[in-house]
């Protein structure tokens, strides 16, 4: 397969683009950090880029536009206004879109997740709202892959496997329009990751750091090519940033590598 080109999209306030790009590089892909202005023609000609030139779109974490209005709302609106149509085509062509933390919030504000009715809903149909604890939660979390096969971005993670991936966010509680929201996501196989305890069991706070309904940590769209998750796989690419690296953890790779590798493998050759 030829080189997998990854667009790591950023604006002011994005702050996880370096490790996101590095994570893709460690998985054999060719990442490029691209400012949104490079997509909207506001940059000098030699710096202009187009989303069609990439195989993967990655939205990194951070505090884009200072989290003004709502986390991810400004970045989402600016993506919509400057490259909305191209992004819709990108998603419709089944190319992978991957959002972490603020990136997940952006995907929700953009209407790309959960996107039950159309590729990009005209207004958000979910929200990532303030953590139940009322504060920023930065702590180790454990995720279980609960996807039953719909999400193409977790193909290298065995079903039911648990991964230690850290969380760091203030707004991670997934809410929908009604009470059945989480059940519908589950029925539709859109729940990809759930927060669990150390034995893989259902566990409340702090293992679920935000109080998300049904312990949901990551979801995909109905087509399975857009994945958003709150925890940060790009922060655990080697054993040295694994939460238990001094306590008997033996693998050379960190748990996050399985996820990033899956995103790279989701590119259709």
């Amino acid at each position: 397969m030829s080189e997998v080109r990854v667009c790591v999209l950023r604006i002011e306030g994005t702050n996880c683009e370096d490790e996101m790009a590095e994570a893709f590089r460690m998985c054999g892909a060719a990442p490029e950090k691209v400012h949104l202005n490079q997509m909207s023609g506001k940059a000098p000609p030699e710096l202009r880029r187009s989303i069609e030139d990439y195989d993967i779109l990655a939205l990194p974490g951070g505090f884009s536009a200072g989290d003004y209005v709502r986390a991810g709302a400004i970045f989402g609106a600016r993506i919509k206004s400057s490259m909305g149509r191209q992004l819709r085509d990108f998603v419709d062509s089944e190319k992978p879109v991957f959002g972490v933390c603020n990136g997940f919030q952006i995907l929700v504000e953009l209407g790309l997740l959960p996107a039950a009715k159309e590729t990009m809903e005209p207004s958000p149909t979910a929200a990532l709202y303030n953590n139940d604890s009322g504060r920023f939660e930065c702590r180790p979390t454990i995720l279980r892959n609960d996807s039953r096969g719909r999400c193409r971005l977790v193909s290298q993670v065995p079903s039911g496997r648990t991964l230690a991936i850290p969380s760091a966010h203030a707004e991670g509680r997934l809410l929908g329009m009604d009470e059945d929201f989480a059940d519908r996501l589950e029925d539709n196989d859109q729940v990809v990751f759930r927060y669990v305890g150390p034995e893989g069991e259902k566990a409340g706070y702090p293992w679920n750091p935000n109080g998300s309904k049904s312990d949901i940590a990551g979801i995909c769209n109905p087509a399975g090519n857009v994945l958003g998750m709150m925890p940060h796989p790009e922060r655990v690419m080697t054993r040295f940033t694994h939460a238990d690296w001094t306590r008997g953890y033996t693998s050379e790779d960190g748990d996050g590598k399985e996820i990033i590798m899956s995103v790279v493998k989701a590119v259709k050759s």
Partner: protein, 79 residues
């Protein structure tokens, strides 16, 4: 010029950690009889449009950016 106040508030039933935390702190300072504290955001938007039109514009702004209908509701008042 028309000035509109766009008020964004949480829908009923959506927890307001900032509000409840503030309430707790106010009580710790000795303020008594506080029933509830809710956080509300107001955008003051000045538009070059007559009142009626300004209101319509502001409502569209709420739909496209200022409010997430899952957790928030909005109201627009022309000054």
């Amino acid at each position: 010029m028309t000035v509109v106040d766009v008020r964004i508030e949480l829908k009923k039933g959506v927890a307001d950690p900032e509000g409840s935390n503030t309430k707790k702190t106010l009580e710790s300072l000795g303020f008594k009889g506080i029933d509830s504290v809710r956080t509300v955001k107001v955008f003051e938007i000045t538009l070059d449009a007559p009142a009626e039109e300004a209101k319509k514009h502001a409502e569209e702004m709420c739909r496209q950016l200022l409010a997430n209908p899952v957790i928030q509701k909005y109201s627009v008042v022309v000054r």
